[in-house]
């Protein structure tokens, strides 16, 4: 049972890593940042997987995962000194509702308009959750760094 879970997560880890690194190549990220991009996206995706396996609602899963992803990207920025866009853009892709877009179109064109509407609304909800996640993550990072700055200034005085 535990072995199964470990195996499943390792498969997810490897494929998410592969996918995100490939996407950082699609967006021409610097070659030295591939691993950092991959790590950002993979941690975001694994957070989503854990939250989903614990039975959380899809929207909350996406929200938590995107928040974690944004914070990780922010931390890597401090270490690697690059624009945060470099890590955030490829990293967000596992969470973007590509499957939702597909299922909406699929049900629409195979004669299940009601299912299509359900899927469409779910897709928009997921996109909204991602939005909220990025905003929340950015806000936490912003607040944290503001406090750090103030703290440093106080120490100087």
């Amino acid at each position: 049972m535990i072995l199964q879970i470990v195996l499943r997560y390792s498969i997810h880890f490897i494929s998410a890593m592969m996918g995100v690194i490939a996407f950082s190549a699609i967006f021409h990220a610097p070659k030295s940042e591939y691993l950092a991009c991959g790590l950002t996206g993979t941690i975001g995706w694994l957070t989503y997987c854990v939250a989903r396996d614990l039975g959380t609602d899809v929207m909350i899963c996406n929200f938590i995962a995107t928040t974690v992803l944004t914070l990780i990207a922010r931390i890597i920025v401090i270490i690697r000194r690059n624009p945060i866009t470099v890590y955030l853009v490829p990293g967000i892709f596992p969470l973007v509702p590509g499957a939702g877009i597909y299922y909406t179109a699929y049900y629409m064109f195979t004669g299940y308009p009601q299912l299509a509407v359900t899927k469409g609304i779910e897709t928009i909800e997921v996109a909204g959750a991602i939005t909220m996640g990025i905003i929340f993550g950015s806000f936490i990072a912003y607040e944290y760094f503001r406090q750090q700055r103030e703290f440093r200034r106080l120490m100087k005085d």
Partner: protein, 280 residues
């Protein structure tokens, strides 16, 4: 007013282009080139504005004003003075290139800290602007591995992912072929890309190897999904650049709609060819 006009004329007569330009015009050209590279390669508005302002300030001009939209940069230096100058630059929305972004960021940081001179920065920027840092095969493989990887994490099996690998590889060449026709809008190329993915996934599904049509399409369309537009629009909105944020948000919605149309047309074609008996 007349005095300013005369003075402007005089500068132009005395200094033909390329011979010698006033200092603040040189600074403006540098800042505007920097902003252009950042904006056309996918930086958010706040970063472009911040970088341009920092560079102008680092070169010693306090009196300046910068306004950036998602496809234009407006810079004025020494407004109201006799040597006021303004630059208006149209920047068409290009493809995202994160390496150029990172390198321009590096140059601007070095310039502001005084590690490099203005001339070195300008030369560096021009080199970055010209540079092509990828090959077609590399990009096609990136599309292929991206499709394959996301196919597995979104529920596909190993064999689905191999099929998605081939579809992704072909998708890059389809998009490249379409972009060869001069200025093609992104909408038809997105529809055609999604159509290509769906039809080939249908062909793989019809081969009776037990492949899942849904998973192959989901993996295949991942490179088309507007992840970049969503991210940038949210960050622009978060920074208060509502106009540019809304433009990217609209872009994201329309791209998603185009993908849906492409997939839908593909399914109709598969149903028509297979007479409704295809295992979708």
């Amino acid at each position: 007013m007349e005095e300013f006009e005369n003075k402007g004329k005089k500068i132009r007569e005395d200094d033909p282009v390329g011979k010698q330009i006033p200092d603040h015009v040189g600074v403006m050209q540098l800042a505007s080139l920097m902003g252009e590279i950042l904006l056309s390669n996918g930086a958010e508005i706040y970063r472009v504005m911040d970088t341009v302002q920092r560079v102008i300030k680092a070169c010693g001009y306090e009196n300046h004003s910068v306004y950036v939209l998602s496809n234009g940069i407006f810079i004025t230096i020494n407004e109201g003075g006799p040597d006021a100058c303004t630059s208006v630059k149209h920047v068409p929305i290009g493809s995202v290139n994160l390496e150029k972004l990172a390198r321009v960021n590096q140059i601007s940081r070095n310039l502001c800290n005084g590690y490099i001179t203005r001339e070195m920065a300008f030369a560096g920027l021009q080199e970055i602007k010209q540079k092509v840092n990828y090959t077609d095969l590399g990009m096609a493989l990136a599309y292929a591995f991206g499709s394959a990887g996301f196919d597995i994490i979104l529920g596909g099996t190993l064999f689905d992912s191999i099929a998605a690998f081939l579809i992704g590889f072909g998708l890059y060449y389809v998009l490249k072929f379409l972009s060869g026709y001069g200025h093609v809008s992104r909408f038809p190329s997105n529809i055609a890309g999604a159509l290509f993915v769906t039809v080939f996934a249908g062909a793989f599904a019809a081969s009776e190897l037990g492949l899942s049509f849904n998973n192959m399409v989901i993996g295949g369309i991942m490179p088309l999904v507007p992840g970049y537009a969503i991210t940038t629009s949210i960050r622009d909105l978060f920074n208060g650049d509502y106009l540019s944020g809304i433009i990217h948000l609209l872009d994201a919605f329309l791209t998603a709609a185009c993908i849906a149309v492409g997939v839908g047309v593909g399914i109709m074609i598969i149903n028509y060819v297979g007479g409704g008996t295809m295992p979708l």
